[in-house]
């Protein structure tokens, strides 16, 4: 029989011992990091198109996309590692993290949309 988790405290406090699988911090870190990565991709596209930060070319045949995608992956993984370290084993208020993730993702997707960055 399942144990309900909906009534767990949302104080950011540790939920029992470190590494407690019932704590949601690690999962929220994964979501938020993906949102940060999405925003990073959008920002890099806009910065490249505006001429502010031309994307480096790490792999010639792919051109600037190799730079944008690699830098995006670095931002994503670094933010995930940091957030995971900060939130692992802790119970975090999920609603605000969910909202932030979706908002960052929306901004990232919009910024990669050609009609938008062609304005720059």
């Amino acid at each position: 029989m399942a144990t309900r988790h909906d009534d767990l405290p949302a104080t950011g406090a540790p939920a029992g011992e470190a590494g407690d699988e019932r704590a949601n911090g690690a999962s929220l870190a994964a979501f938020l990091a993906a949102g940060i990565g999405s925003l990073a991709m959008g920002a890099l596209v806009v910065l490249n198109e505006a001429g502010i930060f031309p994307s480096p070319t790490f792999y010639g045949p792919t051109g600037g996309l190799s730079g944008r995608s690699t830098l995006t992956a670095v931002v994503w993984l670094a933010s995930w590692a940091w957030l995971h370290r900060q939130w692992r084993g802790r119970e975090i208020e999920a609603g605000s993290v969910y909202l932030a993730t979706l908002l960052l993702t929306a901004l990232g997707v919009i910024a990669t949309f050609p009609p938008l960055w062609e304005l720059f």
Partner: protein
């Protein structure tokens, strides 16, 4: 040879890897929908562990398929697509990017379609990876935490929308200017 390596790579990218990801995303969304009807949080007579494990496995497969699609597209298919024609060459069929940009009627297939395909798949892959991580880590919560299921559903809906959009654009581009 009937099919070139680049042509085979494009087919694998779009149909095998991308197609697998799309099917998996649809299956995952359907699983979440079916879970809404489950006897959640009250007395249960079935063991939830197997379907929870199955969802986790499915999401790992979806994330892996998306990364295969993205990396194959970025580092194998895209270079062939964007190879510039040698100077003096006027027959551009073997140079898809140049071919599309040579005509005002097809230029949008590069300027809009391919430019969208360059970046959005990376966002979809990162989101799918997050869901795969959560789905394997939070197996017990998937059954009882409606908020978590809602968030996973929202993220998967975004990923499914992005991948469907990107896939359609890829079909259009490859129809007009196939990678040979």
């Amino acid at each position: 040879m009937l099919f070139s390596f680049d042509s085979l790579a494009t087919m694998f990218h779009g149909i095998a890897a991308g197609g697998l990801a799309l099917m998996g995303l649809f299956a995952a969304l359907f699983w979440l929908y079916a879970m809404r009807s489950a006897d959640v949080g009250t007395t249960r007579t079935i063991d939830p562990a197997p379907p929870q494990r199955a969802f986790g496995v499915l999401m790992v497969v979806v994330a892996a398929a998306l990364w295969m699609t993205v990396l194959g597209g970025t580092y194998i298919v895209f270079p062939t697509y964007r190879t510039p024609p040698p100077e003096g060459v006027t027959a551009l069929a073997d140079y898809p990017r140049a071919f599309l940009l040579s005509d005002a009627g097809t230029a949008w297939l590069h300027a809009f379609a391919m430019e969208s395909k360059e970046h959005m798949p990376w966002i979809a892959s990162m989101l799918a990876t997050a869901v795969a991580f959560v789905a394997t880590r939070e197996r017990p919560r998937l059954w009882t935490d409606r908020g978590l299921r809602g968030m996973i559903g929202a993220v998967l809906a975004v990923v499914f929308g992005l991948v469907s959009f990107i896939a359609l654009l890829g079909v259009l581009v490859n129809k007009v200017a196939p990678v040979q």
